[in-house]
Amino acid sequence: MKDKPFIIGGKEYASRLIVGSGKYPSLPVMKDALTSSGSRMVTVALRRVDLKDRSPQSFYEAIPKGMTILPNTAACYTVEDALKTARIAREIVANDPPLIKLEILGDPKTLLPDTIGLLEATKILVKEGFVVLPYTNDDPIIAKKLEDLGAAAVMPLASPIGSGMGLLNPYNIQLILETVTSVPVIVDAGVGTASDASLVMELGADGILMNTAIAESKNPAQMAQAMKLAVESGRLAYLAGRMPKRRIASPSSPPQ
């Protein structure tokens, strides 16, 4: 099967892997990893400028040129906070139209999304002209509602943020892939290693967003390359179509 382009908010991206920029031991390590990932889009968070320690000013310089910057509303627990963060993000990051990874958290222990708030904020930000990429639970009903509200992609989790537990509910992700058809489904959060990424892509996900799996690896640049290959091979396997599973053996060589 021929692949279709990976389009978010009207722009085509050459890689189906979106990477985060958090938790890296240093900016040079981050830069190497982002480059090795082959990704064309990187998420960032927004915080107060630390007037005593100005080193984060060089953060922007460490993002490989040409990558689209996707600001997030991480650490927002209310619709109000998320809206405010999105509007601030629009001032800092020059995307036209403005992009936002919309995250409204329900609980600091699990970092699971508050999907009721998410629907409300998505509606408002879409109206304001944002390209909204909502981080959501692996709930097909909410995913469909987000699509209907005009989200530019739907981003269900594989497992909780930073947990590295991999894909816990492939059944729900598959249902979401069958339900959400007009915008990309990007599995966001929970991928721990390359096989997790392949599995997600083999199901037919349009893309994957990950951060910790790369940043917390002992060799982030190497893991970033592994993830690049895993996303590509998983996608190819999905397009090729897997063989049927059988309960008994079937000889590969012809019988005598």
Binding site: G20, S21, G22, K23, Y24, M30, T43, V44, A45, L46, R47, R48, V49, L51, R54, P56, Q57, F59, Y60, I69, P71, N72, A74, K84, R87, I88, A89, E91, I92, V93, I161, G162, A189, L209, M210, N211, T212
Partner: protein, 66 residues
């Protein structure tokens, strides 16, 4: 005069514009967003925004995140 700058009480010699404040702090305005008394200030309005005694200023930037 005293203002609240990123949550900290800060003393400035006199009233000034947001544009001048950023210059004095050596912050490149292209990489930050500012709030003046909780309202986001558009970049083109930095030079018309005067900071007065007791005002609250927030300066935000991008950092690493997922």
């Amino acid at each position: 005069m005293k203002i609240l700058l990123n949550g900290k009480e800060t003393t400035l010699p006199n009233s000034l514009t947001l544009k001048l404040l950023l210059e004095q702090l050596q912050i490149q305005s292209g990489l930050v967003a500012c709030e003046h008394n909780l309202k986001i200030v558009r970049r083109q309005d930095y030079e018309h925004t005067t900071i007065e005694e007791g005002d609250q200023i927030e300066i935000l930037q991008m950092i690493g995140g997922g």
